[in-house]
């Protein structure tokens, strides 16, 4: 039981890290980044290669770094030049980009499913409240929670975070008041990409690395962001964790219906509160 709850929290942590990046990009650019699943997948593959050639700890740093660069190019090439376009159109551009990226990843790393073994320090299991639980998953949860806390701290207590919040609320007013929205957006998309890379790297030893992993998680994470309230980082985190736990627990209680939980959650939340849990306005 406790092990299952922890599994739910581990899955929820992944959703949390991924969806907070997606929500940040949505808040600032108004764009639903359909390429986010591919960024996560790219992170997992980069982590796989680096941990095979160097070691896992380097991979944990390299994946976010590489994906931050990918994020930066996404912002500089597409989001910035298309910022006057309809947001749905730009969203569809990212949909096309994700098709390209997924195929490129398959061309580079091949179609087979890979497994990544966690570093020696984190293999084995430890005892939590009487239940034995794999150490790596505990590590995953801890890293994800620390990242989430750091992100919240950054957004709430630093000047750049203040700019991010201001620009998310009203881009025009923020730029009138002298905030360089382009620069803030570049930072946000970089951070969002890095978070996706980190999530991918963390997921690599936990879930197997395969060409379908991006699409699978993308839909759930999109749902998380909408349920959490478009553009709200806190809402996305809460919704991500809740959905991860619900999905895992649902797997035990109602296995036939567990896979539908995200969709049901989406419909219920949007009908009951169309702006999402933490949304400001519809």
């Amino acid at each position: 039981m406790i092990a299952q709850l922890l599994n739910g929290i581990a899955l929820g942590s992944l959703y949390m890290v991924l969806s907070s990046g997606l929500a940040m990009i949505y808040g600032l650019r108004g764009v639903t980044n359909f390429a986010h699943g591919s960024l996560y997948m790219a992170g997992a593959y980069v982590a796989m290669s680096v941990s095979a050639n160097v070691n896992f700890w380097v991979a944990l740093l390299a994946a976010p770094l590489v994906l931050a660069i990918v994020g930066a190019s996404l912002e500089l090439i597409f989001f910035r030049s298309l910022q006057d376009r309809n947001h749905i159109e730009v969203g569809l551009v990212t949909f096309g980009l994700s098709m390209i990226l997924e195929r490129v990843i398959v061309l580079v790393w091949g179609e087979q499913t890979h497994t990544v073994s966690p570093p020696e320090l984190l293999t084995g299991s430890m005892s939590i409240l009487g239940a034995s639980y794999p150490t790596y998953r505990i590590f995953l949860i801890v890293v994800a929670l620390v990242m989430a806390a750091a992100l919240v701290g950054w957004v709430q207590y630093t000047r750049t975070g203040l700019y991010v919040r201001a620009a998310s609320r009203d881009v025009q007013a923020a730029s009138v008041l002298g905030i360089n929205v382009d620069r803030v957006s570049l930072i946000v998309v970089c951070v969002g990409g890095a978070l996706a890379g980190l999530a991918g790297a963390l997921a690599a030893p936990y879930i197997s690395v395969s060409p379908t992993m991006g699409m699978q998680i993308l839909i759930t994470v999109l749902i998380v962001v909408v349920v959490g309230g478009a553009g709200s980082i806190g809402g996305a985190m809460v919704a991500g964790m809740a959905l991860g736990v619900l999905q895992t627990m649902g797997n035990i209680w109602v296995p036939a219906l567990a896979a539908l939980i995200p969709f049901v959650a989406l419909v219920v939340v949007l009908l009951w509160r169309p702006q999402g849990i933490a949304g400001k306005k519809a």
């Binding site: 597409f78 159109e89 969203g91 980009l97 390209i100 969709f263 009908l271 169309p274």
Partner: protein, 376 residues
Amino acid sequence: MALDLNPGQQAGTEIPGLPKATNSPRRTLLWVSIAAVVVLVLGLAVPLVLTNRYYMGLTLAAAILSFHALSVGFLAKHLGLISLGHTAFFGGAAYCVGIAMTHWGWSPLMAALFGLVAVTVAAVPMGALIMRSSGMVFLMLTLALGQALHTISIQPASRDITGAHDGLQLQAADGATFLGIDFYALLVPQSFWPLAWVMLVVVIYLLWLVGRSRFGSLLEGIRENEERMRFSGFGTFVPRVAAFTLSGAVAGLGGVLFALNAHYVSPELLSFLAAGDALVSAIVGGLGALLGPVLGAFIYTFSESFLNFGGNLQLFMGALLVIVLVFFRGGIAGIVGTLYGRSRRKRAQKTTTTTTARPAGPAEPAAPADSKEPGA
């Protein structure tokens, strides 16, 4: 002299008939109806010309994809809504046909009608639910609808009904026929083509009629400014749900045809990638024109067969989608429309320059045509 005569004649015909003849709605209706009949008849001859079975199969696949793309394009054109979930209707209808035939032993015709009716009826409550939203939320809800059905179809628990990952192989009694075509002959593109083609032309014609009807204008009003429409005393919710249902029925018809032709339904029909196929077709073809999605479906299907070496289709399609969205916003139909408009304007320009009795040099019409462009 000949040059002077021509414009004179044209001006002469235009002056007496104050409401220009070509703009009369009844005249347009007549011409389009005639054109539809001609296209319908000409299209029936395609299997005679296209004897290569492979290309015939591709043409048929494109026609079937056209229904799915048309249904997505209809909502985009008239309401500005992008759906990623019409797989629910396309694939759902195909599954209805499969289940009715395989599990209940229904005849192909009854199963086909059941698929179409079931999907259309299901589209009403779905529309009532989903049409409360718009923009990105609409996209998400439709995506969730399609994905939920996909998830249900692959559940081990539903293996007895949907066959889970294996899908369903359609089974019919010996000697079963569909509208006079032997059930097993439906597998042959040449014999299935007339059915698909007639349906496609009829659906396009009906959608065109809907688009120019009062209902169509109402939808376009809602697209431009829903609040203003409500303010002007129009109910907007019912038309929106009606449009959603209509587009669901079009996608459903495509799904029914797919199932009858392929004799096989699988979860891929409900997948995110199937939704992507239809959306990419519609966008590449052009969302602004009724025929855009059909054009896109044909381009998509044929390029799919030419570009699919080494499984790189996704790469090319992604690139095409990005290029069209970034540089050619109206899609291919938009490019054609722009070129046509330009040549027409140029011709109009030529007639005006000749009537003012200026010797029209080859380079001359270009300059005024350009300067007039923003005004026109």
